[in-house]
Every structure is written in C-alpha cells, then in structure tokens.
C-alpha cells in the first residue's frame, strides 16, 4: 500500500471506528480517537512532500491496480506539483476542525467526528485520483458527509441549506459523469485521465465537454452566477463545516479545471477563456461590493470567498505561468485564511450565539488575545504583504497584467474592496467601546482555541514570508500544463 492510499484510507478507517462507538457516554474517548486519527492521517501525508521529486511534471507516488475490469477502470492514484499541496492542506485542516469541534459539539459526537474524518479521506482521494470513475466516486461521495454535517449540526435553516448544497452540486457532477463516459467512448474504452489528456477531440465535442465540466466545477468553485448556494450553506453550516467547505471543498472545483478542463480540452479552454475571465472579474468586483453590505459575518466571509476564488479562476485562464501559479497559491492561501476566518466567527458565535455584526462591538477589549489573531487573519484576507493572502493575489495580478493590462487593473481593484469590507467588519466587531453586556461578559480564548488559531497563524505567516516551498513544487507541473494547453487537439 502506497503513501497515497494510506493518506486516503487512514482517516476513513478512523471514521468507521468512530461510527462503531455509538454511545454518547463515550464522547470524550471519541474526541481523543478523532484527534489521534487526524494527527496520524496528517503524518502519513508528510512523506508525500518529503519524497516529492522537484523538476518533473510526471505523476509521483503512482499506484495502479485494476478495479472494475469490465469498464477498464483502475484504482489509479498519483500526485504532481498541482495536487500534492492540497493533500497536505486537507489533512492539516482536518486536525484544526477536530480541535474546533471539541467542546462545541455535544450531540452525536462520534458521527460528527467520523463525518469530518471520512470527508478528509474522500477529498484527498479527489486530489489524487487519476481515473475518471475513481475521481467521480470521491468527488460525489464528499456530498454525503457534508450533507449530513450541515443537516444535523447546522443552524435554524439547515434543511434548506443542506438540500441546496446537495442538489446544486449533484446536477453539475452528473453532467460531468456523462462527459466522462463520452471521453471513455472516444478514447476507445479508457477512463485514464492521462490518456484523455492526449486524446484528439473535435471542436464541437470539446465545447460541449467544456460546458459539462464547467457545470460541475464552476458550481463547486463557485463562480458567479452559480455561487448563490454558498452564502446560504455557509450561514447554516456548523463552524467546522464552513471551515472545511471554504478551505478545501471549493478547491475541488478549481482543481477540476486544472486537471480536466484545461489539459483535456485545450482548444475549448482557449476559445472560452474570455467567458471564464469575465465571470471571474464579475466575481472579484461585483461580489466584492456585495460583501460590503452584508449584516451577517458568515455571509460576508462567504461572499469574500467567492471573490477570492474569482482570483483563482482568473489566474488559470490567462494561461501564463504567473497566473496559474498565482491561482494555485491563492487556493492554498485561501484555504488557510478562510478556514481561519470561519473559525474566528465560530469562536464568537460560541460565546454570544449571534452572527450579526451589529451584535458585537469592542470585542478587542474583552478578548485581546483573540483579537490579535483575528487581526492577522483579516489582514491576510485583504492581502497584506507578509501574509499568505498577499502572495496569491499579487501573483495573479502580475499574471493578469502580463496577459492584458486592463484585466490586471480590474482585478487589482479587489484589493481596495477586499480591504474595505474586511477592515470595516473588523472595526465594527472588534474596535470601539464594549457594545453590550454579552460582549462585556466574553472570556478570552482558552488553550484549545489558542492552539487551533496559532497553528493557522503560523501557516499564514510562513506562506506569506517564504512561499518558495510552495512554488518550487508547482513550477514543473504548471509549465507542463501550459504546454498542454498551448497545443491544439483538433484533428
């Protein structure tokens, strides 16, 4: 069994063990097993980074065994510079989420922890699957735990949110399944993603497939105008659910563009790049303005996520190394930052049970340590140099300017709106006099919350100050990807 299989199945097996521990009286035991499980799951991903060979775009840690012989489906795993960081990111965020749910979740603890651990394994599977059916299985299977997480531990309007989440994403992925089977037929009976990447395809087929993929991935990213599920879901999901959703699940869509749309359909990608760029710019500019007027903290961060993911897709579809690398960096940075922002909101919510900005004010007076962490993450969200948020946005803007000055200029306006909505929210929630008794009675973060925020703070600063480990890994794969996009597959 290779390292990738271990990374996928360790959390899933731990999740299954937790499900077997049914009684509520065992809650404390369940929490510890979950924590140990998530730590081990993270540890087994480390060799993937350590043993990663730089300078080659080839797939590494490849595992391939026949799985469903009748359809020539293989259990085919592998990572390259594009995907390897997301495997680590997923396992890392899962630890944070387990810590975050430690005291907050009192009902059905074992199912909660099991859902997150299994979700973690499934998402790692998405990032490492190199077979269409395997990818689809992991991609879709993530819906089951997330649906239950939102529906069982969510807010008042959780049922609406859970259905919206499931059905919205299910439609997109079903169309993707049809596209996969079509590629299977065209390639003479292969579900291998790498084979598809070298498969010649006529223009019409490419366009249709491009939009089938678009349906799956754009909903997941989410891109404007199919982003409407995200604010609803974020508002209702429990803190851990929001964190995983923003930090990793959104990346599944963006990753899909890189792994499927661009290399398999280079001509359609180039032909429709204008559309992708336009939608990304709308997300960056328009959604940035929408975020400004939100009353609800979670909604605000959700809209900010849509705007930040706009940077990612913008970076991808300008087709230059800076843009794609920037998009990838932005994905990782956003994973840390948005996850941290949702956890910060969770910290406040646990104390006051409100997500309204107006319910707060002067939190910095009663929770100084917490406010310091929050300031760091908020600054990272508006792209302050030295934090992770800066690296991604800056590189994408450079890439965009290289492609077209005006696109770069429009994208850069996000730095203004991003700073506006983030800092304004910060001012209203944290600064000023203590607004009411609830805020006055708030206790500062305890050791557990300190630990979880500190881990993320280290990650945010590390990536902001020294992004080289990230870019080094990506370079070869990004260059290879761009080479594939540049070559026409029309025959």
């Amino acid at each position: 069994m290779g390292w990738l299989s271990l990374a996928i199945w360790t959390p899933i097996v731990f999740g299954a063990v937790l499900l077997a521990l049914g009684r509520e009286s065992q809650a404390q035991l369940v929490r510890w097993i979950a924590l140990i499980g998530s730590l081990i799951s993270f540890l087994v991903t480390l060799p993937l980074y350590q043993g990663f060979r730089l300078g080659t775009p080839a797939m590494q840690f490849v595992e391939k065994t026949p799985w469903i012989p009748r359809f020539n489906v293989n259990y085919h795993l592998g990572v390259d510079g594009i995907s390897v960081w997301f495997v680590l990111l997923t396992a890392f965020i899962t630890i944070i989420v387990v810590i975050a749910g430690w005291e907050v979740i009192q009902r059905k603890v074992n199912q909660y922890m099991a859902a997150f651990l299994m979700l973690s394994g499934l998402m790692i599977g998405v990032f490492s699957a190199l077979d269409g059916v395997l990818f689809y299985m992991f991609f879709e299977a993530t819906l089951i735990p997330m649906y239950l997480i939102i529906g069982i531990w969510g807010g008042p309007n959780k049922i609406y949110a859970a259905f919206k989440f499931f059905l919205y994403t299910f439609l997109g992925s079903l169309l993707m399944l049809v596209a996969f089977i079509y590629l299977y037929m065209r390639s003479g009976g292969s579900f291998d993603v790498l084979t598809w990447q070298s498969l010649p395809l006529p223009g019409t087929a490419q366009t249709l497939l491009f939009f089938a993929f678009f349906a799956a991935f754009a909903v997941k990213v989410p891109m404007w105008p199919v982003h409407t599920w995200l604010p609803d879901v974020h508002v209702e999901a429990p803190t851990g659910g929001s964190a995983v959703l923003a930090a990793i699940m959104l990346k599944l869509g963006a990753y899909g563009f890189l792994r499927f749309s661009m290399p398999i359909l280079p001509d359609a990608s180039r032909e429709w790049a204008w559309l992708m760029i336009a939608l990304s710019l709308i997300a960056i500019i328009y959604i940035g303005v929408v975020a400004l007027v939100q009353q609800d903290m979670k909604k605000l961060v959700a809209y900010s996520s849509v705007a930040h993911m706009g940077f990612v897709t913008l970076g991808f579809f300008v087709f230059n190394p800076l843009g794609v690398t920037g998009g990838l960096l932005q994905m990782i940075a956003h994973g840390f930052v948005s996850g941290a922002m949702f956890l910060c909101i969770g910290v406040l919510y646990d104390r006051v049970h409100s997500r309204e900005i107006s319910a707060y004010g002067g939190v910095a007076n009663t929770m100084p340590r917490f406010a310091a962490f929050a300031l760091l993450f908020f600054m990272a969200n508006c792209g302050l140099p030295g934090t992770a948020g800066f690296v991604g946005e800056w590189t994408v803007i450079l890439g965009a300017v290289q492609a077209n000055f005006w696109i770069g200029l429009l994208a850069a306006t996000a730095l203004i709106s991003g700073a506006a909505y983030t800092l304004w929210m910060f001012k209203r929630v944290y600064f000023g006099a203590v607004a009411n008794d609830h805020v006055g009675e708030m206790k500062d973060i305890n050791a557990r919350e300190f630990l979880m925020l500190a881990l993320l703070a280290v990650a945010v600063l590390w990536m902001g100050l020294y992004p080289k480990p990230f870019t080094d890994v990506m370079d070869a794969s990004v260059a290879n990807l761009l080479k594939q996009v540049a070559v026409s597959k029309l025959n």
Binding site: P66, F71, E140, L143, L174
Partner: protein, 495 residues
C-alpha cells in the same frame, strides 16, 4: 425425445414444486402459532435451490430440455439463484410481520411464495411462448392471492382486486401479441420465431402488430409508463411483506422474460421495439420521478421510484442494437441485468427497514414515521441512508455502479439520440435525488416522534445488516458481479 439432460435442466423447479407441496402437508400437522417448521423448511428449500442453481450457473453450460421447450443457461440460473435468495431474505424479513398480522393461519404465506417463485423460474427458463405464458400466470396468480392474504383488511383486498384485473388484462395483451406472432411465423418456439423473422419472408406489418402487444404486456409487468397505474396502488395497499415479495424476485423474472421475448425471439425487429422502449423509458423516468416527489407514504414513493428505475432498465435494453448492428448487445443487456439485480438488492433493504420499524398494530409506512431514526438506532438509519443514496445513484454505493453501466451502454453507442437520452436520464436522477434526500432528512435531521424500541429477531437483524453492507461492498468492488452478468449475457447471445 426426452433425454436425461431434460430432467437435469428442471431440477430446481422440481425441487421447488415438491417442497411447496411437502410444506403444505407438513403444515397440516403443525398446530402452533408461529409455524416454525414451515419457515425452516422453506428457508432450507430456498438455500438448496439457490445452491443448485448457483452450481449450474457457475458450471456455465447451456442445456436445452424437452425438445427446446426450456433452456437452462447461466443467465437463467444466476437469475434463479438471485430470485431464490431474494425470496429467502423476504421470508426472514417478513416472519414476524406476517405473524403479527394474522397472515399465518396456515402455511399459505410460505407455499404461495414458493409457488410464485416457481412461476418465476419457469418464466426465466421458458423458451416457448406457451411456457412463458404459463410461468407468468403461475407467478402472478400466486401474487394476487398473496396481496389478498390479509382478508380482513379492506385496502389489501382492494389492491388485490386492482392487481388482478389489470394483471389479467396485461396477460391478455401478451397472449394476443403472441398469437399474432404465432399466426405470422407458425411456431411457438422462440428460436423458431427468431429464424422465421430473420428470414425476412414474413409480412412486417403483422409482426409489428404482434410486437406492440408483446411490448405492452411486458411494460405492464415492468410497471412502465403508461402501463404503471397498478404499481403505486398495489405497493401501498399490499401488506409490506408482500410488497417486498412482488417488488423483488418478479423483477428478475420480468427481465428474463424481456430478454427471451425481445432479444432471443424478436431481435430482427429490434428497430421497432427499441422505439417503443424509448417512449416507455422516457415516460417512466418522467412520471416516476415527478410523482414520487408528491408522496407522503413511503411505500407509494418507492413504487414510483420503481417505475423510474424500470425506465433505466428499459434504456439499457434499447441500447443493444444500433443501426442493425448488434455489437453493443452484450454490453447493453448485461448492464440491464446488473441494474435489475442491484435494484432488487436495494429494494430488499428498503422494505426490510419498513418491516423492521412496523410492529403489532402499527404500520411504519409514512415517511414521517421515520423521523429521528438516527437517534433511535444509528445502525438502521445508516443502512436505510445507504439504501436511499444507492437508489439516488450516489457513489460509492452500488446504485451508482448500476447507473454508470447503463449510462455507459447508452453513450457507447456514440449516437446523438442515445447521448441525449443519457443526459435526460441524469437530469431525471437529479429530481430523484430530491425525494430520496427528503427521507434521509426526516431520519437524520428531525426529532423522533416515537421512542418505541426497535425489536426484531436476531436472524432478521443479521440478514438486514449484511444486506445493507452489500450495498457498500458491491459499490466498492462491483467487478465480480458485473463480470458475472457480462459472461451470462454473452453466452445467452451466442447460443
């Protein structure tokens, strides 16, 4: 000439028939309430029959018996094996249910089910129009009686009446179609019909008339739109244990009947019947999925869901012959077979859970009765959730693999029309996902209305857990079952 092989071919049927009679007789001596001897004998019989047919099937031989009247090939034997197991599982699930509802005054429950299975066996193996008809009647007559087994229950009796009237009409259709084909081809033998039609000497018009009626009869049995009216009423009205029985094993027999009639007999007319199946499938997917949304009764919802799943089976059946070329046939028909088997496996779980939750004087068949099941029993809520996700076609459960094979069969044809149908089918699956999710929502997100403990005998709990686990296991490693279907269908096509 009746040779030794003829008898070997029908051993399973002989065993079933003899044992059904023995059980009826033994039961006369049994004065107890629970009728355990009949139960144990039935279970042993079914185990034996399943083992026998499984052995035949893995032997891989095709035997024609009684001058081509019956055929015993791997496809038939696997279907028989699975049908026997399905009835066995039904006996285990339904044991306490039928006892508590006074359906065990005699051993009719066991004997009628065995006879119905016998009819299914005959149908599966039949290679002759008359034998098909005989098997079908044996199957359905026993089913009518089963639906009416709760004599004092008005709804059940009404359902039985409806089932009988509509079923008789369907049989009439089928018989009429067969008689037309007989008139045109001069033979009742399916192989003979195939040869006569393939020769091209026969007037096409007459044949098409015959095909229309045959397809209508089949559509009745499948419950395809617009011949689906009986399905919701019978599913809802019949006692749940009986619903389980008519929703599982007979579907396997109906599939075999469709293969024997349409593929083995009328393949040269594929162009005609494929168009009819396309219409039936489109209608079934639409009506089945849309009507299921409006249901509050779980059994009725599952009935509409059955209609939509049969739409998928029909889609697979029509993807076999493209432009007169039967190259894709094995692929398409084995996908259909896989889909039917998976469907039966999933149906057993869903009705098994309904039976588990019902107790004396309380039918747990409203969706609302499932509220908060996760808090009452995480295990059974988990099994039911897997079953529903499987029906919705969400990976990694086996229902996804079934949908994948059918979609693959459709798209592999490379024809725009078939690819369009595949897209249509997945959009309909999305609608389907909604009503399955709603049941999961009730089980997981709502608070329980009843805190009555879930009590069930050990055998039922064990079988139900294994049955539920199979949905996941077969979803993860479907290769063996798929290969089994493919091999059986290929052999059916070449002989």
């Amino acid at each position: 000439m009746i040779d030794r092989f003829s008898w070997i071919a029908i051993y399973p049927e002989i065993v079933l028939l003899v044992m059904a009679c023995v059980i009826a007789l033994v039961d006369l001596l049994d004065k107890s309430q629970r009728r355990m001897p009949a139960y144990i004998l039935s279970v042993l019989t079914l185990l034996g029959v399943a083992a026998l047919t499984g052995m035949y099937a893995s032997g891989g031989q095709t035997i024609y018996g009684f001058n081509g009247l019956v055929v015993s090939d791997p496809m038939a034997n696997w279907l028989k094996c699975f049908a026997a197991l399905a009835v066995l599982v039904g006996f285990v699930y339904g044991r306490t249910y039928v006892l508590e509802r006074g359906m065990l005054r005699g051993a009719e429950w066991y004997v009628l089910n065995l006879l119905s299975l016998l009819g299914g066996f005959v149908l599966i193996s039949a290679n002759n129009f008359l034998l098909i008809y005989m098997g079908l009647e044996c199957l359905t007559l026993a089913s009518y009686a089963l639906v009416a087994l709760r004599r004092d229950h008005t709804v059940s009796v009404e359902a039985a009446m409806k089932y009988f009237v509509l079923g008789a009409m369907a049989s009439g259709f089928l018989l009429y179609g067969m008689s037309m084909l007989y008139g045109a081809t001069g033979t009742l033998d399916i192989g003979g019909v195939f040869k006569a039609v393939a020769s091209g000497q026969i007037k096409h018009q007459v044949l098409v008339f015959g095909v229309v009626f045959v397809v209508a009869g089949l559509a009745f049995k499948f419950g395809a739109v617009p011949f689906h009216m009986w399905v919701p009423d019978v599913y809802q009205g019949a006692p749940t244990a009986v619903t389980l029985m008519i929703g599982s094993a007979p579907e396997l027999a109906a599939f075999a009947m469709a293969i024997r009639l349409l593929v083995e007999g009328l393949l040269p007319l594929a162009f005609d019947w494929q168009q009819m199946l396309a219409l039936l499938a489109i209608g079934s997917l639409l009506i089945g999925n849309l009507a299921a949304i409006a249901q509050t009764n779980l059994k009725r919802m599952l009935a509409y869901s059955t209609i939509s799943h049969m739409g998928f089976v029909l889609l697979a059946l029509m993807a076999g012959v493209i432009g007169g070329n039967a190259l894709a046939a094995a692929n398409a028909y084995s996908s259909a077979m896989f889909y039917v088997i998976v469907y039966v496996l999933t149906t057993l779980v869903s009705f098994g859970i309904i039976l588990l939750l019902s107790r004396e004087g309380f039918e747990s068949e409203e969706i609302a009765d499932f509220a908060g099941l996760n808090q009452r029993s995480p295990l059974y809520a988990g099994i039911m959730a897997m079953c529903l996700f499987s029906l919705a076609g969400v990976p990694p459960l086996v229902g996804f693999q079934a949908k994948l094979s059918v979609l693959q069969a459709l798209i592999s044809t490379g024809q725009a029309f078939y690819i369009g149908l595949a897209v249509y089918a997945v959009i309909m699956s999305l609608i389907g996902a909604f009503y399955y999710l709603r049941v999961i929502k009730v089980m997981y997100f709502d608070d329980p209305v009843s805190v009555a403990p879930i009590r069930a005998p050990l055998d039922m709990r064990a079988v139900l857990t294994v049955n539920g686990a199979l949905l996941l296991i077969l979803g993860l490693v479907p290769g063996a079952l798929m290969a089994l279907c493919a091999k059986a269908i290929v052999q059916m096509l070449v002989t």
